[in-house]
Amino acid sequence: MKENSTEDFDSLFVKKYKGLKIFVIIFSAILITFISVYTFLSVGAVRDRMKLAQTQAEATEPVSSSLIDLMKEKAWIESRVKMASGDSIGLSIDLGEQILQLELKGVVVMSTKIREYSASGFFKRMDGNVYFSMFGTPLTIQKFESSIEKNPFKVVIAPKNEAEAEAASAKKDSIRDENVFWTVKFDREFELNIQGIDSISESQSKYRLGKGFEFKRDLKNIYNSFKHIVQFRKPTYTPEILIAIPENEAKAILRALPRNASVTIRI
């Protein structure tokens, strides 16, 4: 009797979990198929973006490899001269020298050492022609997003009498508690991300853990890619440059730059 009940239990168990086995197999197959399609389409999107950049640069004259450094130097200074002719505050970024500068009418009003940076593989594969079509002239900011308010403005109702006025007191703008991260999209279809950090370890933990703004931004990008992929369409690939600078300076630049500011970059 005892043996029979064990056998019944086993056969019931086998039947019940046979379904689970099939589910696991089908589920794994779906995941692997989805991942394969996702990988194929995502890498394809990068290749398409590179081809597009090359097509856009085809009209320019071929660049001689021995002159490329001089031409980059010329394009860098020329772009800054162009920025200086305008009235707006502009940004110049030299990734080689790891310097980020805020310029106003040709005068460097702020200069900061870049603590850390990374650039998409796209930029590492550029040839001279693609480089000059991307960075040969100042870029224009098209879209601004930030983890903190760009231009914070308080609205205060005037006190009705002296007693109410005395109650008001000045408070210091907090810097330490904020996660300063801002991102801009340029007219040449790539993004610049500026992260405010005060130490390298802080930058790594913020970026890897994807706190707050960055995490939401990454999730949004993944969601957009998913939307494309379930429709078997290539997702949009936007190359990006991520720069980490001291937090105060990241905040000062964010506040100072106009929404459609000019930016010059040298890689």
Binding site: S65, R125, E162
Partner: protein, 220 residues
């Protein structure tokens, strides 16, 4: 049997982890990896006359650099950071003095009846010193009374004029904005002003003596 169940659950769990790590880390890394990307670098042979082109480029770079350098004033100028409330006084490329200051509080003051509105913000951009004056007397504008909850006196009324509030010197930038001193020393380094730039006594004296009428003031 329990062992099989645990294996299925483990497979499911590993599968989900694999999926998430692929989406979050592996595929983005693959997208950025130069290994899977086609090269755009076409090795281009030097065109004829590369040496001539090189000389021409070097000359152009020198000309452009000279042009860019000319934008930096050779006389005194001041740079003001309104986020950090810091100033830098330069003469040409030389930093003469730096220190803390106070700038606009970025506030919109609305009169309780909604009749008038005042914006307290330090204007960004390039300005010039239009006028310099020692021992300035502050002619209080309407907002100074509204902010203190006081009735607005008529123009020219003695209660509108205050000595000492602006410190020992003022440098006018136009539209009512100034660089001046302050009696509210404890607020130095904070965004508390109505748009003017406040400085400490010693800093202000040096700025006043170094800057001339026409000197540039860069505010960001």
């Amino acid at each position: 049997m329990i062992r099989s169940l645990l294996i299925y659950i483990a497979v499911l769990f590993v599968g989900i982890l694999f999926f998430i790590s692929m989406i979050l880390f592996v595929i983005p890394a693959l997208q950025e990896s130069t290994l899977v990307l086609p090269s755009l670098s076409k090795a281009q042979a030097d065109a004829e006359g590369a040496e001539t082109q090189k000389v021409k480029l070097e000359k152009e770079i020198t000309t452009l650099q000279t042009k860019l350098d000319k934008y930096t004033p050779s006389n005194a100028y001041i740079i003001i950071n309104t986020t950090d409330n810091h100033f830098y006084l330069y003469k040409g490329k030389n930093l003469i003095r730096e220190g803390i200051c106070s700038t606009g509080k970025n506030e919109r003051l609305v009169q309780s009846d909604g009749e008038k509105e005042f914006v307290f913000h330090t204007p960004l951009g390039v300005h010039r010193v239009l006028r310099k004056q020692p021992n300035p007397v502050w002619a209080k504008p309407d907002w100074a009374f509204i902010e203190d909850g006081l009735p607005i006196p008529p123009r020219g009324h003695p209660s509108r004029f205050e000595s000492g509030t602006l410190g020992a010197y003022k440098l006018e930038l136009g539209d009512g904005y100034m660089i001046h001193g302050t009696i509210y020393k404890r607020f130095m380094g904070l965004n508390v002003t109505h748009g003017c730039v406040r400085m400490g006594d010693e800093d202000l004296e040096i700025v006043y003596k170094t800057m001339e009428v026409g000197s540039k003031v860069y505010i960001y």
